[in-house]
Amino acid sequence: MQAPGNKTSPLAATLGGGALPGWAPYGVVAGSVLFAAALLLATGTFSVALLLAGATLVSCLAIYVWSRSVEGGRRAFDRLATFAIAAAFALALVPLLSLLFEVVKRGLPGLNLEFLTESARGVVGGGGAAHAIVGTVVITAVAAIISVPIGIMAAIYLTEYGGGRLRKALTFFVDVMTGIPSIVAGLFAFALFAIFLGPGIRLGVMGSVALSVLMIPIVIRSSEEVLKIVPNDLREAAYALGTPKWKTIVKVVLPTALAGLVTGVMIAVARIVGETAPLLVTTGVVDSINSNPFEGRMQNLAVYAYSEYRTPGVMKEASYDRAWAAALTLIAIVMILNLVARLIYRRYRTEIR
């Protein structure tokens, strides 16, 4: 096989080889789509899903055959693999993008000032979700206040101090906790408070306790990973200066790991902010704004979306709109938290050489 434009030396022939033109992959994809579309229309079985599947198959086959004849087996396989991986990636993105699209399309109309600022108190067929937004923020904040110190201190114990059996047992239980279904966490919080305060009680803080059961193992896991990455020679440098162990941890290890710890906490918060089941059982459903977690029921966005859909008011459409808007708000909150986490990470991360 002779490369175009090369001198005909044996080495050039071995090293060189044909190459597909730069537009080849895109041309193949375009061609396959047309081909598959034509085929499907001709047989009368046209549908978008079949078109996409057919086009993917045809383009993989086509690029392999074409590349093999021009470039050789190895590069042909390389191109085939590239196509397959790109297709898999696109496939993985489809549900995410379609979900985002749906929520934005249906939620945007309901997202207005009334929605964001008014509660549903005493309202028939109107009102907003301010009480739910406040509730979500308060419940999540209290859950974070409970989980973050416990989680980070446990992670410090596991990395800096833990020895032998206790450490293995702890790691095992943390792993188990990451798999607890959220409703179970909710029922735990419900039962716990029922023991002390009698059944039938509904408090914002109960929801926070349930959420922190879910949050703590995530915080422990991610903090442990981040603390392990701190190089040991930093600790040794501190010890060599005559620093006690606790001070080394507080003043050297934790600041070095700070960016990673914050990211881990943000990820844990993003995970629990949309949990519905535990909050249904613990915080109840209510229409007015309640910002005191220790008193009375508290509404939150997840449960609000559920209840607006389940028990729509007089004006069904408006309720559905509000449910979608609540879902959109939840996604927006998670997105903002993730962005904040990234910014904090980039600003404060320390280049460890």
Binding site: D233, L234, E236, A238, A240, G242, T248, P255, T256, T350
Partner: protein, 297 residues
């Protein structure tokens, strides 16, 4: 340049850190940069056995580290010189399962006696490591002052400024960093980072300075700079330096101790210790002679 002679302590106990006076201001002498009273002390190690769990790493080592001298520990890789060094400031025991047997005393006080706080020992016996390890979250200034802030000594800002400048001058780094004291410590070159670590170690005015292959990660120019520095610092401190570079030991040290392994798996032993010149020109043990003349190892 010799500074004012060090204070003699009435009793050989470790003073708690908050009782120690901050070091007096540097007395400017002809060199202008390294004055200060000598705090050096002698270390005596007798029949020291070092273990990692069941593994016997160093067997029956007896070494005297003389004050205001540079003692070099040489030997092939794995013969226990770093392990021995780390036992001198109670860092060996930080490895899980590690233990120390035998006597190690600092100016007559057994540093492994019950009731002796290892943290206090480490304030008197400082260490510089093989790869430079400045604290990445701290600026140059904060790195040098780290010994003071992490020890919790209440030092006024003006005194701290002065100690930082004196330590950086002592480490021959002042001119290079005086305009960038607030920038991160990790932004310097390798040789500069190592000198920063040395400045950090001497800022707390230890009595002994241990250096574990301080130049092995540096280029020859930086290496020579550090060796010159060591020669000056010995006027203020006692220095023990581990090196696998024999020329460095010959150049920079006053006393040399040669460690060796019979074979892998056996513990390392101290073969011979003596004035550097003797060890390198007319050693008494054949193993020493073989090693220094490059016949093996």
């Amino acid at each position: 340049m010799q500074g004012v002679a060090g204070t003699t302590r009435a009793e050989p106990e470790m003073p708690p850190a908050d009782v120690r006076k901050p070091a007096p201001p540097a007395s400017p002498d002809a060199a202008g940069e390294t004055g200060g009273r000598s705090r050096a002390k002698r270390i005596e190690a007798r029949n020291v056995d070092l273990y990692y769990g069941e593994f016997h790493a160093v067997e029956k080592a007896s070494v005297t580290i003389e004050p205001n001298k540079v003692t070099a520990l040489i030997g092939s890789s794995g013969c226990g010189k770093t392990t021995f060094l780390r036992s001198l400031n109670r860092m060996h025991e930080l490895t899980p399962g590690a233990r120390v047997e035998g006597d190690i005393s600092l100016d007559g006080q057994d540093i492994y006696a019950p009731g002796i706080d290892p943290v206090q020992v480490r304030r008197l016996v400082g260490m510089v490591f093989q790869s430079p390890n400045p604290f990445p979250t701290m600026s140059v200034y904060e790195n040098v002052a780290a010994g003071l802030t992490l020890n919790g000594s209440r030092v006024k800002k003006s005194e701290k400024d002065e100690i930082v400048e004196r330590s950086l001058r002592g480490a021959h780094l002042w001119n290079e960093v005086k305009d960038r004291l607030d920038r991160p410590g990790s932004g310097l070159s390798g040789g500069q980072q190592q000198r920063l670590c040395i400045a950090r170690a001497i800022a707390v005015e230890p009595e002994v300075l241990l250096m574990d292959e301080p130049c092995s990660a540096l280029d020859p120019v930086a290496t020579l700079a550090i060796e010159d520095l060591v020669r000056e610092l010995k006027n203020r401190f006692t220095i023990v330096i581990v090196t696998h570079n024999m020329q460095q030991a010959a150049r920079a040290s006053d006393v040399t101790a040669f460690f060796n392994l019979e074979e892998t798996g056996k513990p390392g032993r101290l073969i011979e210790i003596g004035p550097t010149e003797t060890i390198f020109t007319s050693p008494s043990e054949k193993a020493t002679e073989d090693y220094v003349s490059g016949r093996f190892g």
